[in-house]
């Protein structure tokens, strides 16, 4: 009895020890970023201390009051949100189709689509650039440097993933439920909206979140397929590494600003992640 109490206590100590360590290790880099963002250029090379002694506001104010930076922020929000919505909707339709119809060849589609995410991206910049500027061209309008261009492009990375996530969850919804609704006289779309969607909602939520985070964070294509109008905040980050002395403070401030929306977002929806992220691999 006594030993079991001991073991229990040890277990608690171990548990909290482990987690405290993990949290400290996790937080320090982010915290350091904030520390740096609060320092002016001349303070940067002072001996490292983990305390924020003073707050150098221009690091934040300069980007925040710069209309160009504001545009980056808005673009990022629009692109990430639209892309996540598009991906979630398409994945819902696609997995519903895959799960409820016997489509010849469809069971191979999943692997084929996910292979698109595997390619090293650098070599694909040129072809996509050419397609955007040459093929999608109406008069002077092209997909280059438009929000739509990036929204569509990110589907390549997010859709296969989303289909994968949703497929397992969709397969877990009994067909009988659909059929019962059909018997009651509901149409296909009604069934989808009233029966299926509520049941797969956690999956939709997690699909939305992961797509959103990816689209918010992507850099290489955003940098190469935009010029002035559709640039995103990650490209702004890279631009802060400029010639006359790297603007570490300002860069840290921008990086901090860049994770804020994602962070707020994550805190609100975090609890759905655990229910949605099973990839259908474990069926009850």
């Amino acid at each position: 009895m006594k030993s079991s109490v001991m073991r229990n206590a040890l277990g608690w100590v171990g548990l909290y020890g482990l987690w405290t360590t993990m949290i400290v290790v996790t937080i320090i880099p982010i915290y350091w970023m904030i520390v740096v963002s609060a320092r002016s250029r001349v303070e940067l090379f002072d001996a490292p201390t983990l305390l924020i002694k003073s707050f150098y506001a221009p690091n934040y104010l300069k980007p925040l009051t710069d209309p160009i930076f504001q545009r980056y922020l808005v673009n990022s929000l629009v692109i990430a949100t639209s892309n996540a919505l598009l991906v979630t909707a398409l994945a819902l339709l696609a997995t519903y189709a895959l799960s409820r119809w016997r489509l010849p060849g469809a069971d191979n589609i999943f692997f084929w689509t996910i292979t698109q995410r595997m390619a090293p991206p650098a070599a694909f910049v040129l072809p996509i650039f050419l397609i955007y500027t040459r093929v999608f061209k109406i008069g002077d309008w092209t997909l280059f440097d438009t929000q739509l261009g990036l929204i569509l492009l990110y589907c390549v990375f997010n859709l296969p993933f989303a289909v994968w996530l949703m497929k397992g969850i969709m397969d877990g919804i009994p067909v009988e439920l659909d059929e019962a609704a059909f018997v009651d006289g509901a149409g296909r779309w009604t069934v989808l909206a009233r029966v299926v969607v509520p049941l797969v909602a956690p999956g939709l939520a997690i699909t939305f979140i992961l797509s959103w985070i990816f689209a918010w964070n992507e850099y290489l294509f955003a940098a190469n397929l935009t010029s002035v109008n559709a640039r995103t905040i990650t490209t702004g980050l890279a631009a802060f590494v400029s010639v006359t002395g790297t603007n570490w403070g300002e860069m840290a401030a921008v990086a901090t600003l860049a994770i804020l929306p994602a962070l707020i977002f994550l805190v609100f929806v975090q609890r759905y992640i655990v229910t949605g992220l099973t990839f259908g691999a474990v069926k009850e």
Binding site: L98, S99, R102, G105, A106, D107, N108, P174, V175
Partner: protein
């Protein structure tokens, strides 16, 4: 995991499979074509690295073509 008859376990999409061939896994036609292509590329690369100084690449192509036919029909 669950009792028979549970609708969840009826795979909603049936694999269009044939009785097992010599490959260790169940395959449909797409899978076998895919395996053939993978094998083709792999053999050609190895051929270029190790054998091409003695036998031209056509050797690999012929070999792979035969292998592909075998896999697609009997795999």
């Amino acid at each position: 995991m669950a009792e028979p008859g549970n609708p969840k376990l009826v795979a909603p999409v049936q694999h269009k499979t044939r009785p097992r061939g010599f490959l260790p896994i169940e395959t449909n036609r797409f899978d076998r074509i895919f395996i053939s292509v993978i094998a083709w590329i792999g053999i050609s690369l190895l051929w270029m690295r190790f054998l091409e100084s003695w036998i031209p690449l056509w050797g690999a192509t012929v070999l792979c073509l035969l292998l592909a036919i075998l896999i697609v029909r009997k795999g």
